[in-house]
Amino acid sequence: MKEILTALGRIFIRMPIGMLVVLKHLFKKPVTLDYPRKKKPMAPRFMGRQYLERYDDGSERCVSCGLCAAACPADCIYMEPAENEKGERYAKVFEINLLRCIFCGFCEEACPEEAIFMGHHYEFSADNRDSFIWTKEDMLVKHPRKDNPFKTLFRRVRKVYGVGEKKG
């Protein structure tokens, strides 16, 4: 008898309570976004596509030390060093194969010059494989920079060494 009562209670009381929960959600504002039109702001530390940073005067920060390539668990960074007329090292070739990249951020962490870092850009689909090999020209930030794409970034080191900081 008790079992029948429990079963009846479940069917006629518990189940409608559960349905009420669903019904309540019917009148709530959806939490989803209308994605391609509306975008969620990424967290400051979000790691998207790599960029190569410049100094204030427009010269490249990268000295082609190869630490990022050494740190990369996926071996997706290829670089060839060269020296300019002043005797400074720079990367003659700097390529990242984004098909191999796993966006772990080890390159950014390894870089002793704060040259490479992961931006907030995460939409880079393409229809051929070659366009996923990013060269230096693709990754170097524009100079002089019109908009500052890194203003949302919170990096203590970049604040000290940062591009826009040394103006005064």
Partner: protein, 391 residues
Amino acid sequence: MSAEKKTITLNMGPQHPSTHGVLRVKLELDGERVVTAEPIIGYLHTGIEKTMESMLYYKAIPATDRMDYLAPMSNNLGYCLAVEKLMDIEVPEKVKWARVCLVELTRVASHLVWLGTHSMDLGAMSMLIYAFRERELIIDLYEACGGQRMMTSYIRIGGLASDLPADFEKKVRNIIKTIREKMKDYDKLLTENPIFIMRTKGVAVISAEDAINYCLSGPMLRGCGVDYDVRKANPYSGYENFDFDVPLGKNGDAYDRYLIRMEEMRQSLKIAEQAIDGMPEGPYRAHVPGVVLPPKEDVLYKMESMIFHFKIITDGFKAPVGSVYQAIESPRGELGFYITGDGTNIPRRVRVRPPSFVNLGALPILTEGYLLADVVCAIGSIDIVLGEVDR
């Protein structure tokens, strides 16, 4: 026609949506009843153990994320604790507490996915949407901490990748509050729902003796009433400082496992709250020159840090000869890492004891004699992640 019993062989998977990945189950059916169910694995084999054996110690951390992709922090923690044990590194108190907080939230996130998918397998469609909505909060916390939403790689050897974000406490408290609130809704939807009870109660039963013989762990084992939790049995990362209960089941069926996982989520929130309340101040990385990467701000200004930074990144560190085994309680059970160092900067052997792989071994027992539709419930209640099963 002879009177012999005829069975048919049915192939389930590897593309079946209810097998939670690429699991293939070879079913031997007698009418609707399952005679044997043989899990066939290996469709997602990525050779992660071998990959880890070819890499420097610190580089293998992103590989551990990709095993159990629903609980990345747990995998990171297991691997890092094993390497720290091998290298004899003592991490700062703050790191321990932060790790516990993150790992417990990972357990909640993982159980939320399990709750959603398992109940969707059994027909409760809206549960999946609610569970993923709450999981999003935890994923956002990962993003704020480590920069990635799923493959976090946030827990590193000797500490964390970076300091906790400024609004960490606020975010965690918000998560705890929200999920506690929403869990009442889940209870209303499922716990007393007659359809859910009919589909899970008395289904996929395993006895305590069988569970021990099959080396099950986690909620699968505790569902049979065996009191074994690595957090209590062999505390790691400072779990002995936390006050929590280990829920136990009685019957060892799918419904008990459901109750246990729900209770575990509440306990995890409790632990996370304790961790955030008592979080001490301190550095986010241990100071062990030559083994643990120095903080990035030191690298830019201090010569010694810069030298160690270059050395560790290019050459790693040399581990002593010897083997260690470190087990943690991942959301699915006992996740163990066995690492053998041979004096070089690359491990000689890395062996992972994956909980879902071991738990999946009990599938023939769990499904024997039940109906075909209960196979889905059995697979769901094991809570497998095929990335971890195949590695």
